[in-house]
């Protein structure tokens, strides 16, 4: 019985991994637009980011504060921690025209911004 269950478990895990893998394309999409964003004194600069609608883009975020910040946006479906003094890239999926607010989760009151797809 134990062997059978072991197999079933591996089968279950395998199925899920395969299901996941089917959605992974062999190559990662190359984004066309790259925008530099800086975090300093727990604020984003620029805090208003314009990207072309319908095209993927990349935000290269540089955290000039000493402490970590989490770029968080449920509208953009992104959560990404960027360490103090570090840089991180955030990939934006192709967006419909509109406004997509984001924030720094660790300093919600000051770290705010919006991505505008047009």
């Amino acid at each position: 019985m134990a062997v059978l269950h072991g197999k079933l478990m591996r089968g279950a895990v395998g199925c899920i991994v395969i299901a996941g893998a089917c959605f992974c394309s062999a190559q990662r999409a190359q984004a066309q637009t790259a925008i530099d964003v800086t975090i300093k004194d727990h604020r984003f600069t620029p805090s208003e980011i314009h990207v072309p609608a319908g095209k993927p883009a990349v935000l290269n975020i540089k955290n000039e504060d000493a402490t970590a910040e989490e770029f968080d946006s449920s509208a953009l479906k992104i959560e990404k921690v960027i360490g103090g003094g570090k840089e991180g890239s955030v990939r934006l999926r192709p967006l419909d025209p509109g406004n997509y607010p984001f924030m720094g989760e660790y300093h919600e009151d000051t770290a705010k911004g919006v991505v505008i797809a047009e």
């Binding site: 089968g11 279950a12 299901a19 996941g20 990662r28 910040e69």
Partner: protein, 282 residues
């Protein structure tokens, strides 16, 4: 201080919900407390490690290490939850029967407690590493407000733990007869939600580039950032703007777990009448 309390509170409650469900699912199993403790303690230790090496992890895989790491541990949890549910599908009835016969002192040592231990650990690790980073940031920034904010953080942990305990006690209110099917259902939805979150991370990292468009937008009705939105996000994987791929994986995970559970040979079940006779006899 209040802002700190709220941030820590909502991270703790996300992990706490999952631990609460794991505890409810293992009601009456000997040594389950020990296994869940291993998971939580391991998760806290892991959270500190992950926080300490956050930047290093992030720099792996062309800057997508963090997303891949998150997706990986989420999928690990999905696998463990699947294993548990499939195991329960074949043994749960017998255990439920025994519980009625001999009370809570059930001997079910073969149960895959390690799987649930891993799930607790992963939940604590994921949410905990964010809390550690956040609190570390406060401590490092120093100043007079740091102490107040630290106090807020500690209160946030306590409040989150208290609410999690209430949820656990609420689950215990479910009669033992229904507890297994209730927790199996909860775990299935939880696993599907975690799988969908893993897809979101893979999409964020650019590894999944199909069906990226949001299928619906219910952020006007129930924002994912609200308290209820977050609870539902953790419990059943609610998203106010799910992508097509997330929905597909959510559905697939549900189908796979339910399918595997139904494929299990049913263990021998003693009829309720016979069980009642056994308990009532001296």
């Amino acid at each position: 201080m209040l802002a700190t309390l709220l941030i820590v509170f909502r991270e703790v409650i996300e992990a706490g919900l999952i631990v609460g469900i794991m505890l409810a699912a293992t009601r009456g199993v000997p040594r389950r407390g020990l296994w869940v403790s291993y998971g939580v303690v391991g998760g806290v230790a892991g959270a500190c490690l992950v926080a300490a090496f956050a930047s290093e992890i992030g720099e792996l895989f062309e800057g997508s290490g963090q997303e891949l790491f998150n997706a990986g541990i989420l999928l690990l949890a999905v696998g463990m939850l699947t294993w548990h549910n499939v195991w329960m599908a074949s043994h749960g009835r017998v255990i439920a029967q025994e519980m009625r016969q001999v009370g809570a002192a059930v001997v079910a040592g073969r149960r895959p407690l390690a799987a649930l231990s891993v799930v607790c650990g992963v939940a604590v690790l994921r949410e905990g590493s964010e809390v550690v980073l956040f609190l570390y940031g406060i401590a490092a920034s120093g100043g007079t407000s740091a102490l107040g904010m630290m106090a807020g953080g500690v209160l946030g942990v306590l409040a989150g733990a208290a609410v999690s305990a209430l949820i656990y006690l609420g689950l215990l209110g479910i009669p033992a007869r229904y507890l297994f099917s209730a927790t199996s259902g909860l775990i299935t939805l939880l696993a599907a939600g975690l799988a969908a979150q893993a897809v979101a991370f893979l999409q964020q990292a650019g590894y999944v580039n199909v069906l990226t468009v949001s299928v619906w937008d219910t952020s006007w009705l129930l924002p994912e950032d609200s308290v209820i939105g977050r609870l539902l996000h953790t419990l059943i994987g609610y998203s106010d703007r799910p992508s097509g791929a997330q929905l597909v994986v959510y559905g697939l995970t549900l189908a796979i777990i339910v399918g595997l559970m139904n494929l299990q040979p049913r263990a021998r079940v003693v009829s309720p009448e016979a069980a009642a006779e056994m308990t009532s006899s001296p």
